[in-house]
């Protein structure tokens, strides 16, 4: 389904002779309430949270992350099964339908920051770049809150 839409778009772009990058939608993504927790040293992975709102009319797909803070940032998802056992795994690509939001929040999706290069210090911020399927990128400054923070307000 997705690939057939892509193929159609690609074909119509070829037809009118436009570069495929004009089918972008990622410029319509609004990033809100980004936050993360301070780290103890650099050995433990960090996590960052935020809400991604797609204000456009096309679906937008988040495909990856980049940050000077961590060598291996990735989008992860925590799941808790019927027995109360929690596990965490790479979430793959995240599609945000037009007019909708996707929340990265504790116990669900998170930006997993593996191989920290520097300690995450409370009160500082770090840049996190979101890469989208249309080639667009968005860099957000993520505030670092205390280790015991529960949400964007602390």
């Amino acid at each position: 389904m997705k690939s057939s839409i892509a193929a159609t778009i690609f074909a119509s772009c070829l037809f009118v002779g436009l570069p495929t990058t004009t089918v972008a939608g990622s410029e319509d993504v609004v990033v809100e309430n980004a936050w993360s927790r301070a780290s103890i040293g650099i050995n433990r992975p960090g996590a960052a949270y935020m809400t991604l709102r797609n204000t456009g009319t096309d679906p937008v797909t988040l495909v990856g992350l980049e940050t000077p803070l961590a060598m291996m940032p990735d989008i992860h998802e925590t799941k808790t099964d019927a027995n109360g056992v929690s596990s965490m795994a790479p979430a793959g690509e995240i599609m945000i339908p037009p007019g909708e939001s996707v929340s990265l929040e504790p116990g669900g999706l998170h930006a997993m920051l593996m191989r920290l290069q520097t300690k995450m210090v409370e009160g500082e911020t770090f840049p996190l770049t979101l890469n989208f399927a249309d080639g667009g990128t968005r860099t957000v400054d993520v505030p670092i809150l205390g280790i015991a923070a529960r949400g964007p307000e602390g």
Binding site: M72, N83, G84, V85, P106, M114
Partner: protein, 208 residues
Amino acid sequence: MNRRTLLTYGAAIAGVAALTLFIGWWRVDGPGAPEPVAQRPLPLTQMEFQMTDQDGATVGPETLLGNPSMAFFGFTYCPDVCPTTLSDISGWLDDLGDDVADMNVVFITVDPERDTEAAMAEYVSYFHPAIQGWSGTLSETARAAAGFRASYEKVVTEGDDYTMNHTASVFLFDVEGQFAGTVDYHESREFAVPKIRRILTRAEEDTS
């Protein structure tokens, strides 16, 4: 209807009834029963394990008797679930205020290879002061988890690293060490706080 027909009907009805009972048994208790949902933890008095707390003291299930307790498993290299649980609990404890003065609140690591006594001490220091951090050897950790009917598993991740899957529920025990319920992972404060208050008020009734 002659007597023989009646007998045949009777046998048929009895047969149907027996079959119904059998199907019921099969689905509820028999081989067709759904996978058992997490079992109840043992009473603390029936658990056996030995660990070290954040101050270096030797502790075990018997340490918790005499006061209501809250215990949960996790590891300090956990970026999402564990800090969330610890900060949730810190919030519940703040809400309960002085009422929790005598309550035991114990965070038990499922990753003692990385979570040394010093690591646990530093980690818990960032949360509510009532929260203790216990670590033990691999075999004592297994014995503790078995008593709580909790499970955990080491999972290798990219780049030669590993993470731990683990039971994220918070277990509640009364002053006598009887299991008194669980607070599920990330359960909202409006449900969690009354559950904790219940074991606290029961403790008061027992002592007065």
